[in-house]
Symmetry: C2
Subunit: 343 residues, 2 copies
């Protein structure tokens, strides 16, 4: 079934896609349908704003990414940025630019993914825009969130002796991407050969349907911990730690043996003959949180499930380094995902 977008037109398409959207949050006063959305936040809250522009062929490959997953992921990666400020996402706007290749059903799929993510994370869709593109799909998402005034966590607050923590495990999304790229030829080719993903489901899920670590932010709050600095891991742990250390005027040591890595990630790295630690440090798209806490919080933080202590903050003169299992030090470098350098 293929309904051409031109049969609905811009306003018709927007009306169709946004039908039944309800506003859940107290702060969402008026959503889609006017020149701007109207929000209202109490003055004790600070407002967080993050935005992402995702381009087909650069940020995603529709050969193996289903549109529903793409919608879900596009929303979730923006929520992740709000959590990374110790905040709660409340509203998003979504703009799409579509080439003629796409039909109404495609966009319905994409929106179904966005709406699912919004339901799961209790975020309201308050705006959007749909227009055309000469080639491919462009997605622009802006997410607005809130945090208590004195609880916003920046990148620049890490202090010497602070502990460095990460949530979840690293490198799996990157391995999922490698796997999808390998199977792409199969997916594009003969129909009777099916790509073999058995035993690798976790890697695919991490790549195609990542989650934002709402739970970690809630656990930290419940334990009364305010991190001294925090980021989400989108470009890779190395890259993010360099940002934190640069902005905090600090150095760091992290320990290879403590980097959390899932079993499937390790098996896949072996299969691809890749260095596992490099994948975990530089793979990117983990959407886990890396944060620092005062050593005074050691007892509290070490009791939280799903958080691993991987190192500590040092004086800036010591630089940023990974300490290997055999005690060698390697300077951290941002080899992470960097679309402008790679392409």
């Amino acid at each position: 079934m293929r309904t051409e977008i031109s049969t609905l037109g811009e306003f018709g398409l927007i009306a169709h896609l946004t039908k039944g959207i309800k506003l859940e949050n107290e702060s969402s006063k008026y959503g889609i349908g006017d020149d701007a959305a109207v929000l209202s936040y109490p003055s004790e809250k600070q407002i967080l704003v993050t935005t992402d522009l995702l381009m087909e062929g650069v940020h995603f490959d529709l050969t193996y990414v289903p549109l529903k997953h793409l919608g879900y992921k596009s929303a979730v990666v923006n929520f992740s940025d709000i959590y990374a400020m110790n905040g709660t996402p409340r509203q998003i706007t979504i703009s799409l630019a579509l080439s003629k290749r796409f039909c109404v059903e495609d966009i319905e799929e994409f929106y179904a993914g966005v709406r699912l993510a919004c339901q799961q994370y209790h975020v309201d869709i308050v705006g959007g825009d749909t227009s055309s593109s000469l080639t491919g799909l462009a997605i622009s998402i802006t997410c607005i969130g809130e945090a208590d005034k004195n609880k916003v966590v920046y990148r620049n607050g890490a202090k010497e002796t602070d502990l460095i923590c990460v949530s979840g495990d690293l490198g799996a999304a990157y391995m999922g991407l490698q796997l999808l790229e390998r199977e792409k030829t199969v997916l594009k080719g003969e129909k009777d050969i099916q790509p073999d993903f058995s035993g690798k489901e976790y890697l695919l899920e991490r790549q195609l349907k990542p989650e934002a670590r709402k739970d970690i932010i809630e656990k930290l709050a419940a334990a009364n911990i305010i991190p001294s600095s925090m980021m989400d891991i989108s470009d890779g742990l190395s890259s993010e730690l360099l940002h934190i250390c640069k902005q905090s005027n600090a150095g760091c040591r992290i320990y290879e043996e403590h980097i959390p890595i899932d079993y499937q990630t390790a098996v896949m790295a072996e299969e691809f003959n890749m260095n596992l630690t490099t994948c975990a440090m530089n793979g990117g798209e983990d959407y886990e949180l890396v944060f620092t806490v005062s050593i005074a919080d050691y007892d509290k933080v070490s009791q939280i499930e799903g958080i691993r202590l991987i190192g500590h903050i040092t004086k800036p003169e010591l630089g940023c380094a990974l300490v290997t299992r055999d005690g060698q030090e390697f300077e951290l470098r941002a080899q992470g995902w960097n679309a402008l350098r790679k392409k």
Copy 2:
């Protein structure tokens, strides 16, 4: 001079472009450099959010649009949406996706335009993102503004007998576009033939460097007028009036003889052998304001320079129509700019 973007990389480019950006507004707490911008608004304000995604070849043509003008316009059209809610723009975020064709100097030009617009309108750049695109340039801008809680003006408040007003004049930006399209072959062709724009500067300016009607919002506030409904004219007056009437459950009559049109627009329509009223009603990209006020405000509003009364709101049964000079009624139709239907 051409510096490849790859020599700076994503983070280098962002640092280069955003150097020296200062935050002017009290509500801008933290700008570029973290996972999200941090804003703080007093609780008596409502927060307005609008967003636009602009694609090369659909929304702009770099054959005749200088990048600095494009930057200026991209920002201003978003400010215009905030004014159209009776608000004041305070912050914007800018994301760009660039193909290899673009160099650092190009993006500097674009940013120079955005920064100029932000200076003129006292808006802070608080976020951005720069990545690559396989083809062309994509621009995503989100603008955040504020309005007093009881002063936000929606599209849905027009009441029977309300007066319909527009600012400035209409159709000039559309005529500027026609002119540029005609001269495009000259611009692309032999160097010694120069396109002839003399006496048409106003049309070009309206197309290439539109302004948002901050002044009108301020004059309305000074005169103690809160419009019952308002929109900015981006798709054309017909289209916007249909939105207002549909959302307000009303009809309207507007009078051809009262539609404000500049002399240059009229000359150009004649030259192109186009119907002048159609151009003014459906041209689009005027970025003027159309709004309705109670007849009780007649005396006040008619004294404001730059505002023209063009008609009135009726019962919904009467539909929406243009009354011509000879008294005929034509039903309004949205023939305006609609990228999805046209392409």
